[in-house]
């Protein structure tokens, strides 16, 4: 549908750890301004796939392409320097740090000179608060508050706003709504839509079909390390998707029994 190459594409990715094959011939692509939903039950290989996308694991074979060109990530820092940001289930990992401080971990704005260079708390707080508010989370107005004092949805939003602020082009969201109530989850889904509107390529990992349907443009169902189904928005109904995921589960159960 589009002539621009996908921001991130996987071609026939296999990943094995020693004798154990975890991913089989995975091919996926995600365009800018598009949400790719990865659906799969626990143990389907979702987290291995995420870690491969984020540069933590190197694929055993297959190609990773960014903007149509083949590439390799040497590590998580390499991947994040190239615009791939991963936001984990609980959002930020520093619950005891203030919003402003955690927002700028490793890239603190400073003022002053030489040995008297100081962390610019005021500016850090201002930028962090503005970045989250731009995503519609107006309840956050004090950058000195601790991240741990925010609700789960707000923490997710903060982490996403942070990734966008630092120039992420691909946003990998690992089960962002799994631990949240209905209202908080709706909150995060709105943020996902906002990130998409801003032209980010979003990879949204979930096992909640409802949440996937709400934001997804493109869906892939992962069963035992392989793509079991790959379709676009509107091509399958909610029941069909649920059946697909449940079918995989049943098959996995049957196979386990036959051993």
């Amino acid at each position: 549908m589009s002539t621009t190459p996908p921001v991130l594409e996987l071609r026939n990715i296999d990943k094995s750890f020693g004798p154990i094959d975890v991913l089989h011939s995975i091919s996926l692509k995600v365009q800018a301004g598009e949400v790719l939903c990865l659906l799969g039950d626990n143990g389907a290989g979702k987290s291995t796939l995420i870690k491969t996308l984020a540069g933590v694991h190197q694929p055993t074979s297959g190609q990773i392409l960014m903007d149509g060109e083949e590439t390799r990530f040497t590590g998580p820092r390499d991947a994040s320097a190239r615009g791939i940001a991963t936001v984990h289930q609980f959002g930020g990992t520093f619950p005891l740090m203030s919003i402003g401080r955690s927002f700028f971990v490793g890239v603190e704005p400073t003022k002053g000179w030489g040995p008297f260079k100081r962390f610019d708390r005021k500016r850090a707080n201002e930028i962090a608060v503005k970045a989250v508010q731009d995503f519609g989370i107006t309840r956050i107005d004090d950058g000195d508050r601790l991240v741990g004092g925010l609700s789960g949805g707000e923490r997710q939003s903060l982490a996403i706003a942070r990734a966008v602020h630092f120039g992420a082009r691909v946003l990998i969201l690992d089960e962002p709504t799994a631990a949240l109530g209905v209202k908080q989850a709706a909150h995060v889904l709105r943020i996902v839509n906002e990130a998409k509107r801003r032209g980010l390529a979003v990879v949204f990992i979930t096992h909640q079909v409802m949440h996937a349907m709400a934001v997804g443009d493109h869906f892939a169902v992962l069963i035992r390390g392989a793509i079991a189904a790959d379709f676009r928005k509107g091509e399958r109904s909610r029941e069909e998707i649920t059946d697909l995921m449940a079918g995989g589960e049943t098959m996995a159960g049957l196979e386990a029994l036959s051993h």
Partner: protein, 324 residues
């Protein structure tokens, strides 16, 4: 008020006020107590060690080898400048150098192995004690070494201001200001908090976790050997023993000061107030009608209350995280 209570030093300030109130009820004259030198001297010696130990704890590490580094610093300066009569400069370089060396050993072992730093520094604590004992016996033949320092060194490191207050109090204030700047104003401080929060994420954010860990161990060991050096200059002699009490005292001061044992939270001001509180309990009890044998009980109870308060704080800060 609720803003104040969320600060790491809140507990320590409240504890200090509570202890002062208790001692006033116990018959102490507050003016006498506050004017006395004994507890301020005690606090200054402890405080210089407690701050870098607290920084390590905020970064998620622990250093108990400081217990051996205090006599190591004393003996180094006394053996070099006292027993061998070499320049005090060499003695001071020796005392601080041994701190840097042990800090490097602690730090490098911590970042290169997966052994908890509590165990590593327990090992270096015991090893260093053995080294001091053997060294003193082989080099000087005694366990106590005399030291006559030049006047200027006495003025700077071992003077009694007004005949009662050790000059190390000024060093404590100065070093506390430097550590305050480091932790709360410079970007290194942010890195220390991040390390204590989550080492892997901190590393992924580009923070030189290993170098900073080693640097913090060097700071704590060197601060301890500095305190030992000042004591040798003040008392004109050094003993192989002593210093073990500092391990527990420093940990109590740091925890009462609001630093979380699990890392990631705390402040220099809190550690300073934790140290003051500990010192008032340990030394101020002589100004009351209360039997001084109670002081350890008070310190122990205070530690438990502080740990419980810190834990409650951590739970509150993490509350939304646990909502499923």
């Amino acid at each position: 008020m609720s803003r104040f209570l969320r600060r790491p030093e809140a507990g320590a300030i409240l504890s200090l006020l509570a202890v002062l109130a208790l001692f006033t009820l116990g018959g102490a004259d507050l003016g006498n107590l506050l004017g006395a030198a004994s507890w301020v001297n005690f606090a200054a010696n402890l405080g210089i060690v407690a701050i870098p130990v607290g920084l390590l704890m905020i970064a998620g590490e622990m250093d108990i080898s400081i217990g051996a580094m205090i006599p190591a610093g004393s003996m180094a300066v006394a053996v070099i400048s006292g027993h061998y009569g070499l320049s005090i400069w060499l003695g001071m370089a020796g005392a601080l150098g041994i701190g840097v060396a042990l800090g490097l050993v602690n730090g490098i072992l911590t970042v290169r192995t997966s052994v908890p730093s509590l165990i590593i520094t327990l090992g270096t604590l015991v090893a260093m004690q053995g080294l001091i004992l053997t060294g003193a016996k082989v080099l000087t033949g005694t366990a106590s070494v005399e030291l006559q320092s030049p006047d200027w060194a006495r003025q700077v490191f071992g003077q009694l201001i007004g005949g009662s207050h050790q000059v190390i109090i000024l060093w404590w204030i100065g070093l506390a200001a430097v550590f305050w700047f480091l932790l709360h104003q410079s970007r290194f401080g942010n890195w220390i908090y991040a390390m204590g929060g989550d080492k892997v994420s901190a590393r992924n954010a580009g923070i030189p976790v290993q170098g900073l860990t080693i640097g913090l161990f060097v700071l704590s060991a060197t601060s301890a050997s500095f305190v030992g050096m000042c004591q040798a200059i003040l008392f004109n002699s050094a003993q192989v023993s002593g210093g073990m009490g500092y391990i527990f005292n420093a940990i109590v001061a740091v925890v009462v000061g609001g630093v979380l044992l699990t890392g990631g939270f705390g402040s220099v001001l809190g550690i300073v107030f934790g140290t003051l509180t500990f010192a008032v309990v340990a030394q101020g009890i002589y100004f009351t009608q209360i039997d001084r044998n109670w002081s350890n009980l008070i310190n122990g109870a205070m530690l438990l209350v502080a740990v419980a308060m810190n834990e409650a704080f951590r739970k509150r800060a993490m509350a939304p995280l646990r909502r499923k």
